[in-house]
Amino acid sequence: MESEFYESYSKRHELAEGWKKAGKGIIGYFCNYTPEELIYASGMIPVRIRGTAENIALADAHLPTFCCSFIRSCLDQALRGRYSYLDGVVFPKTCDMTRCLPGIWKRNMKPPYFWFLPVPGKSNDDAVDFFTGELALFKESLAGYTGNKIDNESLNKAIKVYNENRSLMQEINKLALDDTPPLTGSEVYAIMLSGLILPKDEHSAMLRKLLDNLPSSQKTVNGGVRLMIAGNTFENIELMQAIEECGGTVVIDDLDIGTRYYWNHIEESDEPLKSLADGYLRRIPCPCKHLTQPRIENILKLANDYRVKGVILINQKYCDTHLYDRPMIENSLQQAGFPVLLVEHSDIGWAGGKFKTMVRAFIEMLE
């Protein structure tokens, strides 16, 4: 069952091409700050743009090699034609790299639909009002492009569908509160990744089926040292498997593409754009937003709730905002009694052997 999720993620381009052939419109988007509900309500399928661990072939002519491997890989995949099925692409203003990429992407990929979504850095009332205005412009533009009406009803329906998926994903996480969780960290990661691609109703149906069948399945994971992984996103699912091979088990995460993607719900209301603006801005902040404290508190809470023995803090090489957070998070965790393993990561040229040596030593130290 779990492998179905991974398969749908690894075959994501084939799946999307199938939807395209069936006459569906597909919009690629970046980052947790794109309110996918708007795209869903417009009748298009939102898919997260991801890189891979594959070597860079074409992007080096367009981006310096000291930009993060995530952004280089995303552009590279696009230049290779892997995203040729996209009708459009949405860039929210999050980190500096996600702000630098749109111009380059637009010039080289010439997407039929293109939208840059200004997201404020703060999350106070003024910022929410500003963002509500921006979402109204985004909504108008999507409606204009698709010719579909987006109203409060369709938006609230989208919010409901997305909230349901968020709840189900959190249920999956909560399974790991058990001393012997029925799913491994890498299985949970694959389940989450598939949700970046599959339409949310379909993904939710798969999650329900999985949850319904779990009580009868065996509790397979035991004995692994309970760990948390926090930091950037990464493409190599082997990284999660490597941790398990070293005798650890990831029971909870604070990753860009991980719990922070689905941890906060959006309120259904008669002002859905405002609810979306409020919910997206006031979620647990990405390091590119201010301030950092709520994220640190959330990391500490998760580490306590999930009774982890240690935390792997994984930072994408050259990711400035995560780098600034690293000393603050490291200190806060250590003060709270959680040992930390610092890992500098790049999906491209990832060395599993070196990573395993570090993780093994860390786990030995914890035991």
């Binding site: 310096p64 860039f91 950092t292 600034y324």
Partner: protein, 415 residues
């Protein structure tokens, strides 16, 4: 091809006015050191912060970025960066930040002194990059003083500034003024802000005038003079001293212009410098001059100039700080260069691929391609770090310069 290389390293005739900069510098650092005794609040700000607000409160603004540049030119940046890394600051952080943290940790400064001391207030603006507020947050943990953040949204295209973006930033600047009232215990005075804004506008106007004069053939000022003289615009924008300094500078440049005096002898090539100075190796600019290559325009200096209007101080400040050319998600910089290439008779562009400043370097390859494809403009790129000299490969960079010059020579003066 035979290169016309001087045997003695080129030493440009500096502008007499740039000597007056020494006095400005000394006065500024004296005021900073005496701030406590004078009862003036010291406010540490990021580069794209409306500095006018600080002067309106009669405060002393301090720019860590500028200070790290000073440390770099005084050859103490490498040890400061190492010190910061040794205390857990990640490698690969912006070297302005790393170097500043090193100076803070070591309690040593650029001039063999005890460093820049402590801020009374930290004020960061989401103005140039997303890391500024992060850096300021990290310093707040160090100094435990009030932190103000001015938020601003990015536009898709800097040329089309939406009204609600302007009003959002305007409200943020006003809120910062309230916070400054609270933290400094001083009353905000709109008339004082109008005065400061008038002075700031005048300094920018003069800077733009000087920038225009660089279009002359031969160009009257060196890039080193431009970078050094920028101090007054960066740190003293909004003061009478800055205006007087730029009036003097403008007059001297004008005099050179009227007498046909070039900044370098035998100007053969006219180039654009993109973008950051290499503070630890400003002499690299002179190396170009040895081959008759002069830098005639750049956007770095212009990032700090911008017209403001005393009749609408908050609104015009908001507009001015949103118009900064890197504040958009489009490739706007190439459009600005396109406007300058003909006017300034430009033969080529040099990209300083600034390793630690990802967001200002990321679009350089694309900018180079656009200028090459649309205007046939040749370019060269070299990698360095603006502040940290540890990765700089002098011989390799110079070899690149030589190859580039040969190519320019073959294009412009075919045999």
């Amino acid at each position: 091809m035979e290169k016309e290389k001087a045997t003695v390293p080129f030493k440009p005739v500096r502008l007499a006015t740039s000597a007056a900069l020494g006095t400005l510098n000394e006065n500024y650092y004296r005021d900073l050191a005496n701030a406590k005794a004078d009862g003036k609040p010291v406010i540490w700000i990021t580069s794209m912060t409306p500095i006018e607000l600080i002067y309106a409160f009669d405060g002393i603004p301090f720019l860590p970025e500028n200070y790290s540049a000073l440390c770099s030119s005084r050859k103490v940046a490498a040890e400061f960066c190492e010190s910061a890394e040794g205390r857990g600051m990640p490698q690969g952080l912006c070297s302005y930040a790393l170097c500043m943290f090193g100076s803070i940790f070591e309690q040593r400064g650029a001039l063999g002194d005890e460093g820049a001391g402590k801020p009374d207030i930290l004020l960061a603006t989401e103005g140039a990059c997303a890391t500024h507020p992060k850096w300021w947050e990290a310093m707040q943990r160090q100094f435990n003083c009030p932190l103000i953040i001015i938020d601003a949204a990015y536009t898709v295209d800097g040329d089309m500034l939406p009204e609600h973006h302007k009003s959002y930033l305007e409200a943020e600047i006003k809120k910062a003024a309230y916070e400054l009232e609270e933290y400094t215990g001083r009353k905000f005075d709109i008339d004082r802000l109008r005065e400061v804004v008038t002075l700031s506008d005048r300094a920018s106007e003069l800077w733009d005038e000087i920038d225009e004069m660089r279009a002359a053939v031969p160009t009257p000022v060196t890039q080193i003079d431009v970078f050094t003289c920028l101090f007054a615009l960066v740190t003293l924008r909004g003061t009478r001293e800055a205006v007087e300094f730029y009036e003097q500078l403008r007059d001297e440049v004008k005099e050179r212009l009227d007498n046909g005096v070039g900044a370098i002898p035998n100007e053969k090539f006219r180039l654009i410098w993109d973008l950051f100075p290499v503070y630890h190796n400003m002499r690299l600019l002179n190396y170009f001059a040895e081959f008759g290559a002069a830098f005639v325009t750049d956007l770095y200096g212009n990032a700090f100039s911008g017209r403001v209007d005393a009749s609408d101080p908050f609104g015009s400040l908001a507009e001015r700080y949103l118009s900064f050319f890197m504040r958009s998600a489009s490739l706007g910089k190439s459009e600005l260069y396109k406007q300058r290439i003909e006017k300034y008779h430009v033969d080529g562009i040099v990209f300083h691929s600034n390793r630690c400043c990802r967001c200002f370097s990321a679009e350089q390859p694309e900018t180079g391609q656009i200028l090459r494809e649309e205007l046939g403009l040749p370019s060269m790129t070299f990698e360095a770090d603006m502040v940290d000299p540890r990765i700089f490969d002098d011989a390799q960079v110079k070899a690149r310069v030589e190859t580039f010059i040969e190519m320019l020579e073959a294009r412009k003066y075919p045999k």
